[in-house]
């Protein structure tokens, strides 16, 4: 068997980097090329060439890697798309952790809202703009639910606090359930409980939570400017949490980019040419 040749191996690396097609077909082309080049190298050495010269001659005979790959890839059967159910499942598995984190973030925003209520009061958190009037039937309903409330407005605030926070806590619990199901699934497959998302998914998460931050902050600002601060806290509490999640995903993305090894030493990240 012919000994390893760095020149041929480097050529095979270049060829692999340029071949586009179904994985098994690419592997076959690469295996055949390897056998061909080493057979030609052996022939060259048998004719009296130095080993490296024989390797260079074999590559010269075979043709430039990019051109060979282009010719092969043009005629190769296209890489088949995965079946629709598999694509949907794969997409769902990418989105599910984001959904779980998003729901947990809503739950956490409920805790933040609770803290802000304690600090700045119910009016800042849930009150409607000044001058808002309520129907008698609504007032009657809220007063029946909160009999200790002195006025219709305070009964409304108590009800808003209860509804608003309960809904957020429920979302948080649902998010924890989603993440737990994913963790159990990963454990059953003997995978690490937590795996970093793909860079693309992480970037999507950054975009989604940044957009949420901007939208919620805008609503909070609007409540402060137009409604004298009434109800601004409900938006502000959510905006703070969305911002924290966006920053966390941003840092995770930067870490993943710096962690990715260069395929070719001395070339930039992912330097496949």
């Amino acid at each position: 068997m012919s000994e390893h040749s760095d020149i041929i191996e480097s050529y095979l690396d270049d060829l692999l980097a340029n071949l586009v097609g179904e994985a098994s077909a690419v592997r076959r082309m690469l295996t055949e090329t390897e056998a061909h080049l080493y057979a030609d190298l052996d022939g060259g050495v048998a004719r009296g060439l130095a080993r490296d010269d024989a390797a260079r001659a074999a590559i010269l005979h075979f043709g430039p890697a990019e051109r060979v790959a282009r010719g092969w890839s043009a005629g190769a059967p296209p890489k088949p798309l995965p079946p629709l159910p598999k694509m949907l499942r794969s997409g769902a598995m990418q989105i599910a952790p984001l959904l779980g984190v998003g729901l947990v973030a809503i739950g956490v925003s409920g805790l933040v809202a609770r803290a802000m209520t304690a600090l700045w009061g119910l009016r800042f958190m849930f009150a409607d703009p000044p001058g808002t009037t309520y129907s008698a039937s609504s007032c009657s309903h809220w007063m029946s639910l909160h009999p200790h409330a002195a006025t219709c407005a305070s009964a409304y605030l108590a009800e808003s606090l209860s509804d608003g926070l309960d809904a957020r806590y429920a979302a948080g619990l649902l998010g924890l359930t989603v993440l737990a199901v994913l963790a159990v699934r990963r454990r059953r497959r003997h995978l690490p409980l937590i795996s970093p998302s793909s860079p693309v998914t992480t970037l999507v998460a950054v975009g989604v939570f940044c957009a949420a931050t901007v939208a919620l902050a805008a609503l909070a600002t609007d409540a402060i400017r137009v409604a004298h601060g009434n109800g601004a806290g409900q938006w502000l509490s959510a905006a703070i949490v969305a911002l924290l999640v966006a920053v966390s995903y941003g840092l995770a993305y930067l870490r993943s980019v710096h962690r990715r090894p260069a395929l070719y030493p001395g070339r930039p990240h992912g330097g496949l040419r």
């Binding site: 068997m1 082309m29 295996t31 055949e32 056998a35 005979h61 075979f62 051109r67």
Partner: protein, 110 residues
Amino acid sequence: MLGMGNEPLKGHLDLLLLQVLDTEPAHGYQVVCQLRDRSNGAFALAEGTVYPALHRLERQGLLASDWDDNGARRRRVYRLTREGRNSLHARRAEWTEFAAGVSTVLGVTV
């Protein structure tokens, strides 16, 4: 003899590959060597172009292939199928007719 290069060969590569494999099954490197030897070095084509052609002929059902794991390196050995042999006979007849016509026009005796 000077190598002819790729361009004039492109239209006839399939016929030449089928003809080489009509003799006996062979792997890619052997096919290239036989092409070169049988043409006295005239058909010194870029060897990397042979594999896409072999793969295409196999997809068309004219060739079949199997891995040969007996040697030092794994090789794919190609052989002609029944359809491949029929196709070879048809293409060879076309070529003979075409070459005879061209020769007649040129006043060349082959």
